[in-house]
């Protein structure tokens, strides 16, 4: 990874004007897909992603069903129009991998043993991609699962951190991912304080690694607050306290 230009200017600002500890703007809407049991739409900077959850429902083909727990199936897919050069809609090696890590990031939060012989399907469709789409996808999928009313131990929040110009920064965007030093997506359950996804692309020293993961977890906590607000907004509107009806 060779750096062609400075990604952080003399004022400490990044290519899109953010500081090192600043997240991109996040907008999260719950319940956008009427046909699904649960759904969410996230705008994470320039990322636009829809997540839809179906289930628990019958497993087809039947032989995939497990006698003691539910099967969780994830599909991460990028639309042909989500990138500047057309993306072949057939699932690529990268998409198959992201589907797998996404499933493994969500699984620890779900109480799959509550729904034996059934299946939960999670579909994550990227409409517009701008780096960090797997994190945004996990964030949206986790909210869609909660919206679908599936028993969960905790909500999964996800955010990346990385190295740009030898400096550890929060929430790597597309340019920083391609030209920067390292990219570390992290998914985290804030109440249980457990990490469910940790990937690293690039080289970090031990100190940088520690700083990077701490920063990513702080980012996840910010993302979690947004997730919580979005869920509350859908189910309880602007009321935060319960009013008793006579």
């Amino acid at each position: 990874m060779t750096q062609t230009r400075n990604l952080i200017d003399e004022n400490g600002r990044r290519t899109d004007g953010r500081t090192a500890d600043e997240l991109r703007e996040i907008k999260l809407t719950v319940g956008v897909v009427k046909n699904a049991d649960g759904s969410a739409f996230i705008e994470f900077g320039k990322n636009k992603i829809v997540a839809a959850v179906y289930g628990p429902r019958e497993v087809h083909p039947k032989h995939m069903a497990l006698p003691d727990r539910c099967v969780l199936r994830c599909r991460y897919h990028m639309s042909p129009f989500s990138t500047d050069t057309r993306k072949n809609p057939a699932p690529s090696r990268r998409e198959i991998e992201i589907s797998k890590v996404m499933r493994e990031a969500l699984e620890p939060a779900l109480m799959l043993e509550d729904y034996p012989r059934a299946a939960i399907d999670v579909f994550v469709e990227v409409l517009q991609a701008d780096g960090g789409s797997r994190c945004a996808g996990i964030t949206a999928a986790s909210i869609a699962l909660a919206d679908a009313g599936i028993n969960m131990r905790d909500i999964v929040a996800s955010c990346a951190a990385g190295k740009v110009d030898e400096k550890i920064v929060l929430d790597i965007n597309d340019t920083e991912d391609k030209e920067g030093g390292a990219d570390m997506p992290v998914a985290y359950m804030p109440h249980l304080e457990q990490v469910t996804l940790l990937q690293l692309d690039g080289i970090l020293s031990y100190e940088q690694f520690d700083e990077c993961i701490d920063k990513a977890i702080k980012g996840c906590e910010i993302v979690y607050e947004i997730q919580r607000q979005a869920l509350m907004q859908k189910y309880f509107g602007n009321e935060t306290e319960l009013k008793e009806e006579q």
Binding site: G55, N151, I155, P190, M232, L242, E245
Partner: protein
């Protein structure tokens, strides 16, 4: 223990409801010393512990639930019933024909055909096998006609209302009869098509705005019902009868639910 000290509140999965030696009931787990919510809903302290009343989710069968289902298939020994869940219901032929049922002699298609709607009760279910149904009870069996609609199963208690208040309001104002399955399937019958249409609109409204307060008021506005219900002389007899019936069903459902919860508790402990 000061169960009543816990305030009803809104929760999302992962939220800590309370700490201390409380018993976990529905849709909560105990982690260390805290009770954690596992669903979006309203947390409260019930007779049998802390629980969350969920506001979303598909129907999961429970023993003694009254459900409305559609016959989708039959083998030589049982019918398969779609009960709006990830598990399909099984209605054994013996339930309909009696113990001396013989697949050679009795024609199952004569009793219940594919596509028929039935009201049934779940008699056995433990998630390891598909739920078994019965139609041998009062008010159970084939539903001959009506307008079919599906609502979310989590909205069913709201549609019934406290002691059947909501559904009574709708039935009285629209001159219809509304059958509600715990699985979220609703069948509306009545003589007047306009009344059925209005009842369906009211039910849809309850479904969409279930979590809001003052819903009964707005339903009354939709149905053009005055605030203090004044019953006309002629209709009053049948309406009160109906009201009593709904109340009866309500209280039995509640009793049964409480029993189930206790059973589930025992089961979980084992």
């Amino acid at each position: 223990m000061g169960m009543q000290e816990i305030k009803r509140k809104f929760v999302v999965p992962g939220d800590r409801i309370t700490e201390g030696s409380f018993r976990p009931s529905m849709n909560v787990i105990k982690v260390g010393n805290s009770i954690i919510a596992t669903r979006i809903g309203i947390a409260e302290a019930g007779r049998d512990g802390i629980k969350v009343i969920p506001l979303s989710g598909v129907y999961i069968p429970r023993v003694n639930d009254i459900v409305i289902g559609k016959i989708t298939d039959h083998s030589s020994l049982s019918w398969e019933v779609d009960i709006n869940s990830c598990f399909s219901g099984h209605l054994p032929a013996q339930d309909v024909f009696g113990r001396d049922f013989s697949p050679a002699r009795d024609d199952m298609g004569r009793q219940l055909a594919i596509g028929d709607l039935i009201t049934a009760r779940i008699i056995v279910f433990d998630r390891t096998r598909d739920p078994m149904l019965t139609i041998q009870d009062k008010d159970l069996g084939k539903i001959p006609r009506g307008e079919f609609l599906k609502i979310s199963a989590t909205r069913v208690p709201r549609l019934i209302g406290k002691r059947g208040s909501m559904i009574q309001t709708i039935e009285q104002a629209t001159q219809t009869r509304v059958l509600i399955g715990q699985n979220g399937i609703v069948v509306v019958t009545g003589r007047n098509p306009e009344g059925i249409k209005l009842a369906v609109r009211a039910i849809r409204m309850v479904e969409e705005e279930a979590h809001t307060s003052n819903l009964t008021q707005r339903v009354k506005v939709l149905l053009n019902v005055p605030d203090t219900p004044q019953q006309t002389e002629g209709a009053s007899v049948t309406q009160t009868e109906k009201g009593q019936k709904v109340e009866e069903i309500q209280s039995t459902i509640q009793e049964v639910e409480e029993e189930i919860e206790e059973e589930v508790q025992k089961g979980e402990k084992l």
